[in-house]
Subunit: 520 residues, 2 copies
């Protein structure tokens, strides 16, 4: 039975008691242990700051990009092994596992490309030079430089590979060392990734650390040049933001929390149309993929009242065809949720939603395939429907982080759809399925302030698009309000979080000399 | 005796008991009263959100810019009156008052120009269109849209005009209504500004509100689309950031706190050189202007050990020539600090600094000109010096928000200067006075991560520059760590705080259609 170790201060560190068992969520077998980390976390951060930071800052963006390319290649070389671990420790189907692991390498690759594009420079210019006075001699220029601290990354259980890589890629490219803390329950994938990278000596010493088990007193040691990026629940995000050391040092905190992402069916997208089918496919994928454990998954399905019965029935039919079970078994399309705690929360959450309307699909007698009866953290896909005009207080405020969604009828008016979406008080992504450009434009501009991303679901991209639930490295990920108020990725935009923007002000020749150094 | 009223929900609202007296800090005469605001602040925010927000968002940037131009013109027309109030209620000399009031109109004017430049559009594009897949049909575009909330501005006592205008200009141009809360002690200027703008009907209803007196339960009513921008002490900034409603709703908070801004004299800038004189002039201005009550003022004066005695003596000589007194009296160059509380803090702070080294200038028998003996919140300019190599724990951590600075000798090495500057744990601005480009570049790049702005003090701009202590609308203002971690202004950069960046993802024609609407 493996005991997973942390990698801190340039060495593997075994955890102590109490140890936590990692399970296969389909069988409840114990497959590894993680001890409580007793290491000096202040020293681990200091090591990253004093060794990793200077080593990364000495490199150009192109060189840092090459490091990311090396990481990507190393993970690719171990892809099958990582997929197996994701299936065993994450309850992922093979498709779910690919979504996570390939998402990781795709993101590393995209940021490796960005590094190459940014080339042989170590800093970034921010905008053009600015004349500051009557005379052109008095001159300004904004630049961005890497922060001299550590990027602390606290990741969610649902994407142990992608969550790790999407945060690490951006920080490392910006020139900041990373200390990554995966969620314990699914830590085997992140741990194996770290082993692979250490074996390959993929990065300069101190550039990358991994903390397993509890976060301990880690966040008491963050300073004014450090940053914290967190993905997970709003509650934990709020706790991190409230920490005295974080507040006192104005530590930058980026929070990606879950949200009540909506998909809006336009009144033009009538049943039978390509757009309608595209919409159904995306909703169905988001309910079942990763057993609905995606922060970007569609939770609220807004459909014109005139077709809401039809949508409900079509979704229910398709959900009935989804085989739930042990993802190691042939033919299983949806696995368990990640933990017993998740299972409890999801079941309670579905009950809560159902009280706003009614449960129209959801097996009470679920018999997961390939599992000993009574074992595993299984919950069948669930569909709730609201009556037209119903308030739906839970539907618009409580996120069930599992395979559940609610059909919410609306009049077909763009303004009403936008008003319903806004009740979610801030989301990561919402989507509009319509070929009516006027409707789409009206909805998009009305819901935009409440989102980090808006997906325009036209049939024209049905074959090309991974759907709204997939985060792409070139587009920002994050959203206001209950989505945490954070922002990640978006190509070069993501680097901003790990860099300090500073205005230079002075005589034009010397300001331009520095700009030249920055740009070259 | 005027009782100043708040302007909330489109009407003037008188405050209740207990009322607070506003003083002339030079004479301690009571010159106005402010009552405690008993208004429903949740309703005031809702009025701004539902009336002001839609009205501003219906306008183009050019139209919003015209509103700012109108505000600027209105304040210009009342300039003398505002200057008089700043002298009476702020303890400002006429020069200090101009710095504040003209700073306000200059910033309004700069953002009026930016509005004209951004032209006939209501939203902003953020970067270019992005091809997202193998086919160019799958397309992305980032845009920025105004947030649908209220911009709550909480301002510091030292700049009642500029602080109000620099925040309001940016928010209004972005399309967000403003509720501004000036510091009570110096509120007469902000109150008069509001009167002038209301009389002129300068803005659509609900676009601008003014809350006088305590902040009450205002911040319990902020929601996920609102933002809070605060200027003042780190402690209050931390308190705002910790508020449960702010955290729960992921309310964007921008904090500008004070910092231990440094001025570094390069080893080439020997006594008698133009650069040396420029440096002395800037240090002297920052000690005395606004009686040192500027968040950007130079607090730590880093000079090569070889010239530190000379710098100390030159500064002391010049400080001895500064006439302190009632700013209403002829010949007075420095007024009192703003309040009795400030006076106490400044005196205690100077004692604290002196314990790190020694007080080399600071009158214990100050006789302010034009004031009844014993009256007024006067403290003379103070200069402390550290010994070479001394630790200076208070000098590097405690900001005295008054007319005081400390001479800190260093070896003349750029790396040592940068290390000393970094001990301030994050600053708004630091400055380097040198004609040696290599030295300047080394220092600038080393201190950049710790600052929002770096001022390059070459003699070539001595006649053009307002010095590091002046915030310019085209350059960002703010800094990491103890400076609050915020960022304001910087031309169009400042709009970002008041807008939501959102990624659009879909079929190229419809994404480009929206981009076209945004851009036109």
């Amino acid at each position: 039975m493996p005991i997973l170790k942390s990698y801190l201060g340039g060495a593997w560190v075994e955890g102590g008691e109490p140890a936590q068992a990692l399970l296969n969520p389909a069988t409840e077998e114990v497959i590894a242990h993680v001890g409580s980390c007793a290491a000096d976390l202040g020293a681990a951060l200091a090591h990253a700051r004093t060794r990793g930071g200077p080593a990364l800052r000495a490199l150009t963006f192109a060189e840092r990009g090459k490091l990311l390319r090396g990481m990507c290649d190393a993970l690719q070389a171990h892809r099958d092994e990582l997929l197996d671990l994701a299936v065993a420790n994450g309850g992922n189907t093979r498709g779910d596992a690919k979504f996570d692991v390939d998402g990781a390498t795709f993101t590393l690759s995209a940021y490796a490309d960005l590094g190459q594009e940014l080339g042989e420079r170590k800093f970034l210019l921010d905008g053009e030079g600015i004349s500051l006075g009557r005379s052109p001699r008095f001159h300004g220029q904004h630049i961005r430089v890497p922060r001299h601290g550590v990027a602390v990354h606290i990741n969610a259980f649902n994407f142990p590979a992608w969550g790790f890589a999407e945060k690490a890629a951006v920080a490392l490219l910006a020139g900041m060392p990373v200390l990554s803390k995966p969620a314990t329950s699914s830590a085997m994938v992140a741990h194996r990734i770290m082993q692979i990278l250490v074996e390959k000596a993929a990065l300069p010493e101190g550039s990358l650390s991994l903390l397993l088990g509890g976060v301990g007193d880690l966040l008491e040691h963050v300073g004014p040049q450090d940053v914290v990026a967190f993905t997970g629940s709003s509650d934990t995000g709020s706790r991190i933001r409230s920490l005295p050391g974080v507040i006192r040092n104005s530590v930058r905190v980026n929070v990606e929390a879950d949200s009540l992402n909506a998909a809006i069916l336009g009144p033009d997208a009538t049943p039978g149309s390509e757009t309608y089918d595209f919409f159904l496919k995306d909703v169905l994928r988001d309910i079942t993929q990763k057993a609905g454990q995606k922060c970007t998954a569609i939770r609220r399905v807004l459909v014109p009242t005139s077709v809401s019965d039809r949508v409900r029935d079509d979704l229910a039919d398709r959900l009935a065809a989804v085989t739930v079970g042990n993802p190691a078994s042939e033919g299983v399309r949806m696995g368990p949720v990640a933990t017993a705690g998740q299972l409890k929360d999801v079941r309670e959450g579905i009950d809560l939603l159902a009280r706003d309307g009614r449960l129209v699909f959801g097996a009470s007698d679920l018999k997961p395939l390939g599992v000993e009866p009574g074992k595993g953290f299984f919950v069948g896909p669930a569909l709730v429907e609201l009556e037209s005009g119903a308030d739906g207080p839970s539907v618009h405020s409580h996120e069930v982080f599992g395979p559940a969604a609610t059909v919410v009828p609306y009049s077909g008016q763009a303004s009403e759809a936008a008003e319903l979406v806004a009740r979610g008080r801030g989301g990561l992504v919402s989507s509009v399925y319509s070929e009516d450009a006027a409707f789409t434009v009206e909805v998009v501009l009305a819901i935009a302030p409440h989102h980090g991303r808006v997906f325009l679901g036209s049939a024209k991209i049905a074959e090309l698009s991974p759907g709204p639930g997939t985060v792409l490295p070139l587009l920002v990920h994050g959203g206001p309000g209950r989505a945490g108020g954070g922002e990640e990725l978006g190509g070069a935009r993501g680097l901003g979080f790990y860099m300090q923007r500073v205005a230079l002000e002075g005589a034009r020749p010397v300001v331009e000399k520095i700009a030249g150094i920055v740009a070259s």
